[in-house]
């Protein structure tokens, strides 16, 4: 049975993978959700094979299992509870401020954030504090290390940042 089941399954994948991909792409947006849904549909399809007696067309059967899995089947995945919020959604903040500032500056800041996120977390926190204008002594108090150590680390972090933003900043 299991061998036969695997063979049918392989055939179905060969011929009808497109159908499944369409459903996955229509009902799950981010890549992680897509992988989850895709794997879930494949599992349910594989489990359904012993019930497939040839009295239904293959495409009908596959569509049923895939749509039922996407729409009806209660996946374990936790739904995010909607909670009361005290601020305008973060999504709007970025666009909202486009008027206040030049678009060029906004783009620079965006690139800066992308670079900062690629630094090791402690280096990025030093860069953030430096950008916000904290003195070495203050940074040392936040981090719990000596001021001279802060200097060493800040230089290293600036160099990493310079590599990540090549062409944008000249003096790093």
């Amino acid at each position: 049975m299991t061998d036969k089941q695997d063979n049918i399954f392989t055939d179905w994948l060969d011929q009808h993978l497109g159908l499944i991909m369409h459903i996955v792409r229509a009902y799950a947006i981010v890549p992680e959700a897509r992988e989850d849904l895709f794997q879930d549909i494949l599992l349910q399809l594989w489990l359904s094979i012993p019930n497939f007696k040839g009295n239904a067309k293959e495409t009908t059967w596959i569509y049923r299992v895939a749509l039922n899995t996407a729409l009806v089947w209660n996946r374990q995945e936790k739904r995010r509870q909607k909670h009361q919020t005290f601020l305008d959604s973060f999504k709007e903040i970025d666009s909202q401020n486009a008027g206040n500032d030049s678009i060029e500056n906004l783009e620079i800041i965006n690139k800066l954030y992308i670079a900062i996120r690629q630094l090791p977390k402690t280096e990025s926190s030093i860069i953030l504090m430096h950008l916000d204008g904290l003195a070495y002594q203050e940074m040392a108090e936040v981090l719990g290390i000596t001021a001279s150590n802060v200097g060493v680390k800040l230089n290293r972090a600036k160099k990493s940042l310079g590599r990540l933003m090549k062409g944008l900043i000249d003096d790093l």
Partner: protein, 204 residues
């Protein structure tokens, strides 16, 4: 562009837009997922029932030692809860939604299952908490009335405090279990029910 052009574009795309699948790994993952799922179901279905029957045996044995009738009440309440769960799960398993059914049937089957689940949890007090609750409280009272009168005054006062504490803690645990269940209804089952009803309505 007409809709038929769109369809042609769509279908020409379809064949191109397919991920490469590592079939042996996939089959292995499916096997494991099936095993995990079966183990999860077994654990869920067997463990609670096994604990209920185990406690039935323990209380029955205690009764055969001490011949205190509240123990018999406790034992039979455990048996009732265990039996109720076995029968309910057996009946529900036969009606589980089949994902290879047409959408409309599958939605209806899922809706029936969710409604039953809601009924079960909303009434958790009557079939899960009340029977052992009566048993436990009777047992406490029986012991209290037997021991406290035999003690001298300070001992009796201490006995009463102990009695109140024990009853209070027990009530707290029961209340907590009750709340857990009602939370699950509110936060998971009712939204799910609405979702399914919406789907069914759109299909009819």
């Amino acid at each position: 562009m007409t809709f038929d052009d769109l369809r042609t574009t769509w279908q020409s795309q379809a064949s191109a837009c397919q991920p490469k699948i590592d079939l042996p790994v996939l089959l292995q993952i499916l096997q494991r997922a099936k095993r995990d799922f079966a183990a999860m179901i077994l654990r869920r279905d067997v463990l609670e029932v096994a604990i209920a029957f185990l406690m039935f045996l323990v209380f029955l044995n205690d009764y055969s030692d001490s011949r205190e009738w509240p123990l018999l009440l406790l034992a039979s309440s455990c048996l009732f809860v265990g039996g109720f769960m076995v029968i309910d799960r057996f009946l529900q398993k036969r009606k589980a939604p089949k994902l290879f059914d047409p959408l409309q049937s599958c939605i209806k089957e899922s809706l029936t299952a969710v409604n039953h689940q809601i009924w079960l949890l909303k009434n958790v007090f009557w079939w899960y908490l009340l029977p052992p609750g009566i048993g436990v409280l009777t047992h406490y009272c029986y012991i209290g009335f037997k021991i406290i009168p035999t003690l001298e005054s300070t001992g009796a006062a201490f006995g009463i405090v102990c009695f109140v504490c024990v009853v209070g803690i027990t009530m707290m645990i029961f209340w907590w279990v009750y709340n857990l269940n009602q939370n699950a209804v509110e936060k998971e089952l009712l939204p799910r029910k609405q979702e399914l009803e919406q789907l069914l309505e759109n299909l009819q």
